[in-house]
């Protein structure tokens, strides 16, 4: 009996306990607050591309003609290359290097520069904006450079190509500078010297542009290098001529020399094109180099020369004989162009020679062409081709 009572009591307790538990849960669900939160996230993105820089000049390889240690160069700087225009402001300065360095960035004392350059392979350097050595022309130290005039915009003492929007691009701009070169170091020179103009950019990027020019007391200079054309190596002959033949820019002093036929008289250099004759051997001459210049009728198939529209600022061809390997051109003032030659037989040497003639006016005002030799502070001609004196420009050795 008592066991039964105990069992019933225990059962009751369990039931009550369970009911209480269920009631508790029901109350919690229905009446007590639950933690409920809504969460939302959105996102967005901006992608900004860095600007490209396009800057070019017409100065590379130009010839500065000096007289009495002074010469001038017309230099154009542009904020574009081909059809690409920089779409931000460009700020720059033309720096005037006063200290020079070796390839390791070590300073070279002024008095030691000439000795340093006598060692084969040594090149002259200046430090760029990052204090890294940059190669410059080996004669740069001899010259002081000043900007005699400029039509460029300026801002805070710097030159500025300001950005002007034009459709989806920008306005292409040109700065015309006149740079004065004064030779105040080194012995007297006869020939051609290599000088660099250093353009330092500060915006939109910090970097340097180095423009290499030739300073010469000659009216025309030649240089040659390898050039890759459609994966084929050509010998490229560069020809640059002085801006003014008849007088020295800056001083306006006329170029006057002794008359070859009467040393008591003088002749003056005429403002006429130089007459240059080229001959070559063991080379193909790439006639396509002449396609932008005036050509006599039938010089090239399909070409014609309308004398009414001759542009006297461009070289023009007087004669081209591929079989006889002879090219005669008139080279006007301020010319800067090249001719390409492809070696035929690589087992033998290949040569290019030239003969330069300059227009001179004697005291009777008669004008004629005379060979541009030492009488006119010109070249030596010690190469004979078909009984005519030439000077050798290229002697491309066999492999």
């Amino acid at each position: 009996m008592e066991d039964t009572k105990v069992i019933k009591s225990k059962t009751k307790k369990i039931v009550i306990l369970n009911l209480a538990l269920i009631l508790l849960i029901a109350v919690q669900i229905i009446f007590l607050p639950t933690v409920a939160r809504y969460v939302k996230q959105e996102s967005d993105k901006i992608v900004a591309s860095y600007t490209s820089l396009y800057m070019s000049s017409d100065g590379e390889g130009k010839v500065v003609s000096v007289e009495d240690k002074l010469g001038y160069l017309n230099l154009k700087l542009m904020n574009y290359e081909d059809s690409n225009v920089t779409q931000r402001d460009i700020e720059y300065t033309i720096s005037r290097p006063t200290k020079f360095y070796n390839a390791n960035g070590e300073a070279i004392a002024d008095d030691d520069i000439e000795t340093y350059l006598k060692t084969a392979g040594n090149q002259l350097h200046v430090l760029d904006v990052w204090n890294q050595p940059q190669v410059v022309g080996r004669d740069t130290y001899k010259y002081t450079q000043n900007i005699a005039s400029s039509d460029g915009e300026t801002k805070n003492g710097n030159y500025l190509f300001s950005y002007e929007k034009l459709n989806n691009s920008a306005v292409g701009k040109i700065h015309n500078l006149l740079i004065e070169f004064h030779r105040d170091r080194g012995s007297d020179f006869r020939g051609t010297e290599d000088v660099s103009i250093i353009v330092q950019l500060s915006r939109p990027y910090r970097e340097v542009f180095i423009i290499n020019v030739k300073i010469s007391d000659k009216l025309i200079v030649f240089s040659n290098t390898d050039a890759l054309v459609y994966e084929t190596t050509f010998q490229r002959l560069y020809i640059q001529s002085a801006d003014v033949y008849s007088y020295y820019k800056g001083s306006d002093k006329l170029r006057e020399y002794k008359d070859r036929n009467d040393s008591s008289k003088t002749v003056k250099i005429a403002p006429r094109s130089l007459l240059v004759t080229f001959t070559w051997d063991n080379f193909y001459f790439d006639v396509n180099c002449l396609k932008d210049y005036h050509l006599p009728n039938d010089t090239l198939p399909g070409t014609y020369d309308n004398v009414s529209f001759i542009d006297i600022s461009k070289p023009y061809v007087s004669k081209l004989d591929i079989e006889k390997k002879i090219l005669v051109m008139y080279v006007p003032q301020g010319s800067n162009f090249y001719l390409d030659f492809l070696q035929i037989d690589k087992a033998n040497s290949s040569t290019v020679n030239a003969r330069v003639e300059v227009a001179v006016i004697d005291q009777s005002a008669k004008m004629d062409y005379d060979i541009y030799d030492e009488l006119y502070a010109g070249y030596k001609y010690d190469t004979i081709v078909s009984d005519i004196k030439y000077m050798n420009l290229i002697n491309y050795n066999k492999e």
């Binding site: 939160r37 969460v39 939302k40 967005d44 901006i46």
Partner: protein, 216 residues
């Protein structure tokens, strides 16, 4: 026997009830993700995001909206930034539909977050940049939802900090103007423009809203 049986049944019922109550509670958490200024009314939390002006060195520049590949999302592109530039992008957040004026249904907290990255493919490198967000309140006419002409917004912006919580109240129209600002690093040493070919600045922004705790 009967007792044990009763006990087992009770435990079983207890388990079922607990399971149901937990499920019901968890089912109230909603997470959603969408882009653009759409705003839907319902038992879910929304806010309105509106893109605004893009500046470079305090000058207004053009931002072009482009589609993200293989996605219905869009993003903003611009170009011609350079080292040392200051880039600033403005946007607006409101707790109501700008077109219809209808309100959200919940009190919420809001927090925007931003990151910036400079990618230089030529150098094969990427660099983190600081992106700071500032905000101000745009006082509104509660009836029209337009900026209140008689109550100009402050000219001073406050900086968003990690513990900043901005209110998107249930019963009042609010609008915030934000801007995210990135100062691009100066040009790296011993580089020139070629090293920055194809370089990009990417600014990623995340807008987080969380409804406040309320009774069920």
């Amino acid at each position: 026997m009967k007792r044990n049986k009763f006990l087992i049944i009770a435990i079983y019922v207890l388990f079922i009830v607990s399971f149901l109550s937990v499920s019901y509670t968890l089912g109230k958490y909603v997470s959603n993700q969408s882009v653009g200024g759409s705003f839907e009314i319902g038992d879910q939390l929304y806010f309105d995001y509106t893109r605004s002006d893009l500046y470079r060195n305090d000058q207004l520049i053009v931002g072009v909206i482009v589609n993200e590949p293989n996605s219905n999302k869009t993003y903003i592109t611009t170009d011609n930034v350079s080292p040392g530039d200051n880039v600033r992008y403005h946007f607006y957040i409101s707790n109501f539909d700008l077109e219809t004026g209808k309100m959200n249904g919940y009190d919420a907290n809001f927090l925007p977050v931003s990151t910036a990255l400079l990618n230089m493919p030529i150098k094969g490198s990427s660099f983190d940049l600081d992106a700071t967000i500032y905000y101000r309140v745009i006082p509104l006419d509660q009836e029209t939802g337009e900026p209140d002409p008689n109550n100009k917004p402050s000219t001073v912006y406050s900086m968003i900090a990690k513990d900043t919580k901005l209110d998107l109240p249930e019963d009042e129209k609010v609008m915030y103007e934000f801007y995210v600002e990135v100062l691009l690093d100066e040009q790296m040493s011993n580089t020139d423009h070629n090293d920055y070919f194809g370089a990009t600045l990417s600014i990623e922004m995340y807008f987080n809203a969380v409804s406040k705790i309320k009774n069920n």
